[in-house]
């Protein structure tokens, strides 16, 4: 496998906003890709959960996002860069239970203010940058060993 041979695997994906039916597709693809590359199941699960929360956020709030996944023998780094409304108060959005979700989003079992804290919980390093009216960029890093 590429990652085990000391090489770096790099792949990009696109998430379309408001496409609720497809929500989870990119996370599933990333999950399968890591599994095939032989990454340990516990690590794959953490990446998949963090990625799925990030994907749901894009689908619920943003117009579109590009996702880049970089896998080295020691690290998985995912950047989710969206074009969207941005987050007015990032510190507040990082608090469990704070949410601006609509009833439609809540009907899907999301939008309870758990997404960003849950991404942080599953990541070894988590960075977030947001500009109102432009978009939000997340950088999720998970160590493999």
């Amino acid at each position: 496998m590429a990652a085990e041979n000391g090489q770096t695997v790099f792949q990009t994906f696109v998430i379309e906003g408001k496409e609720f039916f497809d929500a989870g597709k990119v996370s599933t693809e990333i999950k399968s890709m890591l599994k095939e590359l032989g990454v340990q199941p516990e690590i794959v699960r953490r990446v998949a959960i963090a990625m799925y929360e990030a994907e749901m956020n894009v689908v619920m709030y943003a117009e579109r996002a590009t996702v880049s996944v970089q896998l080295t023998p020691t690290t998985i780094r995912i950047i989710v860069d969206d074009r969207g409304p941005g987050i007015a108060d990032v510190e507040l959005a990082m608090q469990e239970g704070y949410s601006t979700a609509t009833p439609e989003m809540r009907e899907l079992g999301f939008g309870a203010g758990m997404g960003l804290p849950n991404i942080k919980k599953n990541a070894d390093r988590f960075e977030i940058e947001s500009t109102l009216g432009k978009g939000t960029k997340l950088e999720i890093t998970i160590w493999i060993n």
């Binding site: 929500a23 999950k31 699960r45 799925y52």
Partner: protein, 123 residues
């Protein structure tokens, strides 16, 4: 305990994944909030839920859950069933309410997958 034992205990109708009913059930949890499922369940857990959507299946797939039981007679539509088939996630339905279904499985000895803020004395 395996899924077919759970099926008998809760008198479940099987909507998909008949061939996976020999999967072992180690933990179970109940939630309608998928973020709670993602945050607090363990790999291989059985999920009881009243939320019958494609997102429920996606969440189960992402979190490596063993199966989903819809409570209080809720039935998945064709789309939900086809996504579950594709992801190899068994779907079952019980007429019991969430509270009763959980009680039956808890009494049968299946421990919780979610970490509570405190433990039940004498359990």
């Amino acid at each position: 305990m395996v899924l077919s034992d759970v099926q008998k205990l809760l008198d479940c109708q099987v909507f998909s994944g008949d061939e996976f009913l020999d999967r072992t059930v180690i933990f179970a949890g109940a939630a309608d909030l998928m973020s709670d499922v993602l945050a607090f369940t363990r790999s291989g857990a059985l999920l009881l839920t009243g939320l019958v959507t494609v997102q429920t299946i996606q969440t189960a797939h992402i979190a490596d859950l063993s199966a989903i039981i819809f409570v209080r007679g809720k039935k998945p539509d064709k789309t939900v069933i086809s996504v579950a088939n594709e992801k190899k996630i068994p779907l079952m339905g019980t007429a019991y309410s969430m509270y009763e279904a959980c009680g039956i499985l808890y009494r049968a000895g299946i421990p919780p997958t979610m970490n509570s803020l405190r433990t039940i004395e004498g359990a």
